[in-house]
């Protein structure tokens, strides 16, 4: 069963190719990592799932229906979204940042704050942080708040675009552990964009390697490491090992 399907999807920015005839299917209830060099089209693929990027050709299906570009906010509320820049709203405190979508969906205050507390406990943020503003948080804390916001409505699908990219190695380790916990807390489909093979290996069940807008290989994490499909994939893994 798949949650997301790409069918011969292409996207160009002027002469720049961001996706070229991509056909891809993302399995439900698993974590899929999209890896590849910078500029290879990873974010483009991810943003086609929630309609932020509209393909020039081909079709994208999400939750077994083609993306309806006239009703994007509805679709997006079923998709948790977190990015490297985090993008916490600086004029709101932590609780409001986490709860914004529930607020827009008309949840009452009690229900909202119960859910906020639950999520903050899950990512080990102290309860009194609720009233802090983003500028009063460390990078790792901000990232956790960002994850809580993505989880607020308990969406069945998560899109994470290098969410741990800007963290120092120690903090990243901690956030990784929390990520694992989130993963175990409920069966969800997670699509994780990263350029870090180690991170993909650690967090993902399945890996998609992209290069210059094309999918080079898609396979189980263990399989892909043992059996790179072509020279590019093998070279990408090797270059990564050498740089460490």
């Amino acid at each position: 069963m798949s949650v997301v399907q790409f069918d011969s999807v292409s996207k160009r920015y002027g002469r720049e190719i961001a996706a070229e005839s991509v056909s891809l299917s993302i399995p439900a209830n698993r974590t899929t990592a999209i890896i590849g060099p910078s500029g290879s089209g990873k974010s483009t693929l991810l943003q086609m799932i929630n309609g932020m990027v509209r393909p020039d050709a081909g079709s994208v299906r999400v939750f077994d229906a083609p993306v309806d570009y006239g009703e994007l906010p509805q679709l997006r509320r079923k998709i948790g979204y977190a990015v490297q820049g985090i993008g916490l709203f600086p004029h709101w405190n932590v609780a409001r940042n986490i709860a914004i979508l529930a607020e827009m969906n008309g949840w009452d205050g009690a229900r909202r704050s119960a859910r906020v507390r639950e999520l903050m406990a899950l990512v080990e943020l102290p309860e009194h942080y609720e009233t802090r503003h983003p500028h009063e948080l460390s990078g790792g804390e901000m990232q956790r708040v960002g994850l809580c916001r993505a989880m607020m409505l308990d969406p069945p699908l998560f899109l994470l675009d290098e969410p741990f990219g800007a963290l120092d190695p120690l903090t990243r380790g901690e956030v990784h552990r929390e990520f694992e916990r989130i993963r175990e807390a409920g069966r969800r489909t997670i699509v994780l964009v990263t350029h870090d093979l180690h991170e993909a290996q650690k967090l993902a069940d399945e890996i998609v390697v992209v290069n210059e807008g094309r999918v080079e290989q898609q396979a189980e994490t263990q399989t892909i490491l043992a059996q790179p499909a072509n020279d590019f994939v093998a070279g990408f893994f090797r270059a990564y090992e050498e740089s460490r």
């Binding site: 943003q47 929630n50 932020m52 994007l72 906010p73 509805q74 679709l75 997006r76 509320r77 998709i79 948790g80 979204y81 990015v83 820049g85 985090i86 993008g87 916490l88 709203f89 600086p90 004029h91 914004i100 979508l101 827009m104 503003h133 983003p134 500028h135 009063e136 916001r149 993505a150 899109l159």
Partner: protein
């Protein structure tokens, strides 16, 4: 009987003719001493006959007065024959006063009433001592004395109908220097200067004991002063104002100008005295109507004008906010509009305020409304520009996330973009408010009142203390506005945005 009287009274009130007779006459004046005095004189002469008068004095020059008259914003104002001929009708030729009256009637439909009796034209003034020593009586006499120290105002020196033509007409050999008019009189007092140009009714002529040389070759055009009257009120005012015809000669006008300029008398007092002292001036009128003018206390005047000033500024600012903030948002959302709209708003800003006010007159007349519109137009650009710039400057990552997590366009605008842009928008509003307070001082030129009133009058009288009476409260108001906005900023801008705008 009582009943019949009541019916008659009612009929009288509602008969169109009598309603018309009750209408207030609006008297205008230009913004210089003589203009004010003559305006006040005409107004008081009408009031003495029981006619209700509204004063719209200190209008910014010929164009403003004339347009106001044409558009029915005022009913009459004192004007000069030479000005009508050259500035209004733009005629090359010179005609006699009576010819000009018919031409005015034909071309504009307005009535130019008989001259009040004096000609306020250009004149050459010489120190009495010099004039007597060299027996100078007419301009031509200057030709025999090439060594005289002569200086003219820059305008007179350079206008074709000023010195160049005068020198040619009278064969004058001198090479005069240019001098600021106000300084020329001082220079004559200290005997550094023998002759300069002036207006024949300048109040300073008496003060500095100067002699005017006769223009016996008729070089200077005539500037006979007379009321210029709208046809609708002519029948009512002509009989009253015609009685003033020929009653003011140059000496009398000089004396009245001098009283205001040098003796610190008000326009109203001077006009009142003239009407009282006129032969038969105090006959047969109720004491009520001839009561001498009462001076308003300085503080009362400042408070009254300050309130009017604030009213002008605040209404224009509120309208500016109501239009510019939504327009700024619209521009931000439909980028195609950005260039043309901001360009247009910028263009509006470059129109000099006084010109913008003048453009308003044909459409909106004079007074409160056009002033509000002009101030509103000036308020637009700063608010518009700041609104758009603030929205465009929001961290693109933040905008992307707001979109990506599923906020609708309206929710993004309302909950994220506007709040984040608010400090800069507020700064734009503050700029607009301060600009408006400054610009509103010019509203007095089109009769809208405010703190500009004493400035306009003070400029006319060359009276610094009067100018300061408007300028200081206006400056204080501007400073106060800054402070209030700073307080507001402190309250509505959240702590984190003040501290480090780079944090997202």
């Amino acid at each position: 009987m009582k009943r019949t009287l009541a019916v008659i009274a009612t009929l009288a009130v509602f008969t169109p003719h009598s309603a018309h007779a009750e209408e207030t006459i609006r008297v205008g004046s230009k913004n210089f001493t003589e203009g004010y005095i003559l305006g006040e004189l005409l107004a008081r002469a009408l009031e003495r006959e029981g006619i209700r008068v509204e004063r719209r004095f200190g209008l910014g020059g010929t164009l403003v007065c004339y347009e106001a008259l044409r558009n029915g914003e005022i009913d009459l104002y004192p004007e000069y024959s030479g000005t009508i001929e050259q500035a209004i009708l733009k005629r090359e030729t010179r005609s006699s006063f009576s010819d000009l009256q018919s031409v005015v009637r034909e071309e504009t439909g307005l009535a130019f009433l008989p001259s009040l009796g004096f000609d306020n034209t250009y004149a050459i003034a010489v120190r009495r001592e010099t004039a007597e020593r060299l027996s100078l009586t007419s301009i031509g006499d200057l030709a025999a004395h090439p060594g005289l120290a002569i200086a003219f105002s820059h305008e007179f020196l350079n206008r074709q109908d000023g010195w160049p033509g005068l020198a040619a007409r009278y064969g004058l050999p001198q090479k005069p220097a240019g001098i600021e008019h106000g300084l020329a009189y001082e220079a004559m007092r200290t005997k550094n200067l023998d002759a300069t140009d002036c207006y024949s009714t300048d109040g300073d002529i008496q003060k500095y004991d100067l002699v005017l040389l006769a223009d016996d070759r008729g070089y200077f055009p005539e500037y006979q002063a007379a009321p210029l009257v709208a046809p609708g009120v002519e029948a009512r005012v002509r009989p009253v104002l015609e009685r003033l015809a020929g009653t003011i000669d140059e000496a009398a006008m000089r004396a009245m100008n001098g009283k205001v300029l040098l003796d610190d008398r008000t326009f109203a007092e001077v006009a009142h005295e003239f009407l009282e002292e006129r032969p038969g001036g105090n006959e047969a009128l109720s004491s009520d109507r001839t009561r001498p003018p009462v001076r308003e206390s300085r503080l009362d005047a400042v408070v009254r004008r300050g309130a009017r000033h604030l009213q002008l500024t605040l209404i224009a600012l509120a309208l500016g906010i109501l239009v510019a903030v939504p327009l700024g948002v619209l521009i931000y959302r439909t980028r195609a509009l950005a260039r043309p709209v901001l360009y247009l708003a910028g263009l509006l800003q470059t129109i000099p305020s006084i010109a913008l006010l003048a453009f308003m007159i044909p459409v909106l007349g004079i007074g409160f409304r056009p002033a509000i519109v002009a101030l509103f137009l000036y308020a637009l650009l700063p608010i518009l520009r700041n609104t758009t710039a603030a929205l465009l400057a929001i961290d693109p990552n933040l905008k992307r996330v707001a979109r990506g997590i599923g906020l609708t366009a309206w929710q993004r605008l309302r909950h994220v973009e506007i709040p984040l842009a608010a400090p800069l928008i507020l700064a734009g509003i503050k700029t607009a408010a301060v600009i408006n307070i400054g610009t509103a001082t010019l509203a007095a030129f089109i009769g809208a009142g405010g703190l500009g009133e004493p400035i306009v009058t003070g400029l006319a009288l060359n009276d610094t203390s009067l100018i300061l009476e408007g300028a200081i409260p206006a400056a204080l108001l501007a400073i106060l506005t800054e402070l209030l906005f700073d307080l507001l900023e402190n309250r509505i801008v959240p702590e984190h945005l003040k501290r480090d705008p780079a944090v997202t």
